[in-house]
């Protein structure tokens, strides 16, 4: 949060590191976690099945569980589950495996490598390391992974199958993943000499997204259970909606985005004007940001809702972005502010008509929406309300 309040970008020049792997990338910037993860403190029996993405997930999960003060004795009760995802398993572990396979010899690879690169590595490792025996869900859904993970958690609790769900998403940064965005012309390539100026959500000069890494973990709990143990409740999820675009794998569709937003509002039985803030997906791509802005205008009306997006601060954290950005929203809600969109200097064509937050704004808001509109055409929206004891 310090970085967000200080308007600091975590995007850096990665040319020296990435050129060792791939020489013809066009985007040479990214937002890595450069501080130590202290993963050697994780006992070996848990650590051996964790690639970088699962380690990042585990660090975030521990923080969430400590903050929520969930008694460890509950983890194995069957009433605590985990819903946690990344877009894929550990890319670095997958790279190690395929490099060996390409050389024609796999002998010598660690036995844990499969568990590191399998797609449900985050959920499986969290359940294993924490002794969780309730539901284990891995909603690998590209950039909608973590919001869908939260949604699945909500539904597990609503169905009274679980009391508590550890939810979220994670992603590790790897040049191969950034390369995939190069290939669909979705990565930012004109700011390689000025990394902190990209991505530029909604901005006139935006030219694509920048990959980052991180994890966001939250503890969802039934109100009954949370109140019974005197937990500090930050917010209440009042709606979850997820839909498929059905028209294109990469180009978001204004109609499908607004459809998902409307579905969430109907589920919450709220009118658009009740929503005081939307945290946008806004990856910094020309088409994506415009489609999202137009959809927000369609649903909320001209200047009908305050909007900002956080990818300018730490890049597009893919599987983590929904949860990570939602956590920042919860924190700023607690602090009484709306954090601005970093690198939004001149609103781009088609992105106007919204109350764009461009400077830190004191705000006392109750309802907000968090959206993710992912590759593959996965739309996900959560609506949350600040929790009050009534």
């Amino acid at each position: 949060m310090k970085g967000l309040y200080a308007r600091r970008s975590a995007v850096i020049d990665l040319q020296e590191r990435w050129r060792r792997e791939i020489e013809d990338l066009t985007c040479w910037v990214g937002a890595p976690i450069d501080e130590p993860l202290n993963h050697m403190q994780i006992p070996r029996k848990f650590r051996r099945s964790m690639g970088r993405v699962a380690i990042i997930a585990y660090v975030a999960a521990l923080e969430a569980l400590q903050g929520a003060r969930i008694p460890e004795s509950l983890f194995g009760s069957g009433r605590v589950g985990v819903s946690f995802a990344s877009t894929m398993g550990s890319v670095s572990s997958l790279e190690e495996f395929f490099a060996a396979a390409q050389r024609g010899r796999i002998h010598g690879l660690p036995s844990g490598i499969l568990f590191q690169f399998m797609s449900n590595t985050c959920a499986a490792n969290l359940a294993h390391a924490l002794g969780i025996t309730g539901r284990m869900i891995s909603s690998n859904a590209a950039c909608s992974s973590s919001l869908q993970a939260l949604g699945c958690g909500v539904e597990a609790i609503q169905h009274n199958d679980q009391d508590i769900m550890l939810c979220g998403g994670a992603e590790e940064l790897h040049p191969v993943v950034s390369a995939a965005f190069d290939l669909i012309n979705a990565s930012s390539c004109r700011f390689n000499d000025h990394p902190s100026q990209t991505p530029r959500p909604f901005d006139r000069d935006r030219d694509g997204t920048v990959c980052g890494e991180g994890a966001g973990a939250v503890v969802l709990e039934s109100q009954r259970s949370a109140r019974a143990r005197g937990a500090k409740i930050l917010a209440e999820v009042v709606a979850y909606a997820t839909t498929a675009d059905g028209t294109h794998m990469a180009q978001p569709h204004r109609e499908s985005i607004s459809g998902c937003l409307r579905k969430a509002l109907r589920a919450a039985e709220l009118s658009p004007k009740t929503i005081e803030y939307v945290n946008a997906h806004a990856t910094g791509t020309l088409q994506g940001d415009r489609a999202e802005a137009e959809a927000l205008k369609t649903v909320f009306g001209e200047n009908g809702v305050a909007v900002s997006g956080f990818k300018g601060y730490f890049g597009h954290t893919l599987g983590a972005c929904g949860a990570l950005e939602l956590i920042a929203c919860l924190r700023m809600q607690e602090d009484g502010y709306l954090i601005p969109t970093l690198n939004l200097e001149t609103i781009g064509e088609g992105c106007g008509g919204l109350d764009h937050i461009t400077t830190l704004r004191p705000a006392d808001f109750r309802y907000f929406a968090k959206a993710s509109f992912a590759l593959g055409g996965v739309n996900t929206v959560l609506i949350l309300k600040r929790y009050t004891n009534d």
Binding site: R48, G108, S111, G112
Partner: protein, 97 residues
């Protein structure tokens, strides 16, 4: 009696690679029940032994002998057996990783 240097190497492997508690390194310590190793660790242990002692372990041919290893002492006996029956290794197995 096993060469003390071999004992020392095995202890170092168990401590550094498998992070077993130092006070469990007794000859009759059970690898699985006391040191907490499991079947995946056995796979990794065989790879480490190959790299350290430069013999080749065959997953099929050595399977029965590997399954009989329960204690540190039995592990040392297995290493002795492999060292004698693999002859003098001239080069390490061809590792990918």
């Amino acid at each position: 009696m096993t060469d003390p240097e071999i004992v020392e190497k095995v202890h170092r492997i168990l401590l550094n690679e498998f992070e077993v508690p130092e006070d469990t390194l007794l000859p009759n310590a059970h690898l699985y029940d006391e040191l907490g190793l499991d079947s995946l660790d056995t796979v990794d242990l065989m790879v480490v032994l190959e790299k350290e002692f430069l013999f080749k372990i065959d997953r099929v041919m050595d399977e029965e002998k590997i399954r009989e290893i329960r204690t540190i002492e039995e592990l040392l006996s297995f290493i002795e057996y492999k060292r004698k029956n693999d002859g003098q290794p001239t080069r390490p197995p061809n590792f990918s990783a």
